[in-house]
């Protein structure tokens, strides 16, 4: 089942308004550990410690400061922060439509499912919008305000419902150029064999094939330890890197193996 409703609003563009409800689309369940004090196994708590007095500081004695230069701050009050919050609104405003598959996955942040809000009197048009977008193969780039934050996102017609992807702002993505990668010459032979190898190893994407094996093994280890059994500690496996001079050889051997 989709997650509960987290927000209500309406999609707007041109003369169209479609009221919707947002649902979470992903649920992660993980094994949770607590941090304990090693010598007495007391559960530790996080505390904010004053660097000067070296003691815990209660919430009412904490302020937010923006560092202008080392050790010098502008204090910003909660009321001032409140003023910078975007005006609250229920409108998911579409600014433009783009052909699908234009958005680099690096921009995709979170995904929500949209349910038609049929309780709303204008709760129509959802199906027409879904069909129109699907047939035209487009997604809508939109902005909205939710929980005092402004979002940019992509409205998509996929699966059985409309979806809203929140996108990262462009200046939040680290440019590849900043990685300072070197250019190393490669031979055409290396590239041809490498490409051939990839084609041989290609399969359809079937995510249900993969499960979180680690989580299961971790659960087992916890149970073993709870029963007081001894655990064999294994060192992580480290692969020996392929030497540049042996790259062609390794590719040829791989191709032979894949054949």
């Amino acid at each position: 089942m989709a997650g509960g409703t987290i927000w209500k609003g309406y999609i707007h563009f041109g003369d169209t308004d479609v009221p919707v409800k947002l649902h979470t689309a992903v649920r992660e369940e993980r094994i949770q550990f607590h941090l304990l004090h090693a010598r007495d196994h007391v559960r530790l708590r996080q505390q904010m410690i004053c660097a000067y007095e070296k003691k815990p500081v209660p919430a009412e004695e904490q302020s937010k400061g923006f560092e202008v230069e080392e050790g010098k701050y502008i204090i910003v009050d909660p009321e001032e922060l409140e003023q910078t919050a975007p005006e609250s609104s229920r409108m998911i405003e579409i600014h433009e439509f783009v052909k699908t598959a234009q958005i680099d996955p690096i921009f995709v942040d979170r995904v929500y499912y949209l349910e038609p809000d049929i309780a709303n009197i204008q709760g129509k048009g959802y199906n027409a919008l879904f069909k129109a977008m699907k047939e035209m193969d487009v997604e809508g780039i939109c902005t909205w305000t939710m929980r005092k934050r402004s979002y940019v996102g992509a409205l998509q017609a996929s699966g059985k419902v409309l979806r809203l992807n929140t996108l990262r702002y462009a200046d939040e993505v680290v440019p590849v150029a900043s990685l300072d990668l070197q250019n190393v010459p490669l031979s055409e032979k290396e590239l041809t064999i490498g490409s051939e190898l990839i084609d041989k190893l290609t399969a359809p994407f079937e995510p249900q094939k993969f499960e979180n094996e680690h989580e299961k093994k971790l659960q087992q280890m916890i149970e073993q330890k709870a029963r007081g059994e001894k655990i064999a500690v294994l060192a992580p496996r480290r692969l020996k890197p392929t030497e540049s001079d042996n790259l062609l050889q390794a590719l040829e051997a791989s191709l032979k193996k894949a054949a």
């Binding site: 992903v26 196994h41 708590r45 204090i75 200046d171």
Partner: protein
């Protein structure tokens, strides 16, 4: 700029192994504030505190515990945790290659880049180039910070990008909220299509900016002009000579924030 890694190990496909580091590909653009003690304006730091002994606890005195019944824990050392999947904690093993177009964006979790470590530059570039030529992405599994991830490794502008994916059982079904079948009024659909047609453009991510961030920066600029600055007490170290022009200093800080530092 030397890029710091969050993880280092090897990425492998078939018999080729490439030493790499994992680095972040996104930096939240939030204006970063520091928490200060409002009595002395000294910086606060997050520390683990033992409520029983009322003391701060250093990292070497901390152990992880899994709570089996209230207040009873199974203890796990770092070595034990790393030994859960020893073959995956230092290796990103590409299991197969896929067409990224087949991956529903619903699966995308978090993006990173991989950068080559010393000696891996050539094999790294080979993988970048052959994935670009074949238009394929590597599907791999590896363990980062106690958690196993399914990841897609793609070729992007000469670099390897790594996107962690959700597992299929983490994706919630959408059937229960899908709309009831209703007859779609052709008139309405056509009106929408016309409207959409007029609004089609190319995707330009740079067009949108966080309005709140701008407002915050304006607020800070106003406050710095009013010279409402506070100063933290020196802690042991000598004080450096700061720039005299505070507005220039703020602009410099803003520039850093904008560049994602």
């Amino acid at each position: 700029m030397a890029v710091q890694g969050i993880w280092s190990g090897t990425i492998s496909f078939s018999l080729v192994a490439i030493p790499v580091r994992l680095v972040t590909a996104v930096k939240p653009g939030h204006v970063s504030f520091h928490l200060l003690h409002n009595k002395d304006y000294s910086r606060l730091s997050r520390r683990m505190f033992c409520p029983e002994e009322e003391i701060m606890v250093t990292p070497d005195e901390i152990i992880r515990g899994y709570e089996i019944v209230p207040d009873k824990y199974v203890l796990m050392t770092d070595e034990e945790l790393e030994s859960v999947s020893p073959e995956r904690s230092r290796t990103i093993e590409i299991l197969e290659f896929i067409d990224m177009k087949e991956v529903d964006p619903l699966y995308f979790d978090h993006p990173y880049y991989l950068v080559p470590s010393k000696g891996g530059e050539k094999a790294y570039q080979l993988l970048v180039e052959v994935m670009r030529r074949t238009n394929k992405a590597g599907l791999a599994k590896f363990v980062l910070a106690e958690r196993e991830y399914l990841v897609a490794v793609t070729s992007k502008e000469g670099a390897l990008e790594l996107i962690t994916l959700h597992y299929s059982d983490e994706i919630l079904p959408d059937e229960d909220i899908s709309p009831k079948k209703e007859t779609i009024e052709a008139e309405e659909e056509n009106r929408m299509k016309k409207s959409i047609e007029q609004m089609i453009e190319d995707f330009d991510p740079g067009k949108y900016a966080d309005g709140r961030r701008k407002k915050l920066m304006d607020l800070l600029a106003t406050k710095v002009k009013e010279k409402t600055l506070v100063e933290a007490p020196p802690i042991g170290e000598e004080e450096g000579e700061g720039p005299a022009d505070l507005v220039a200093a703020l602009e410099e800080s803003m520039r850093k924030v904008k560049e994602g530092r």
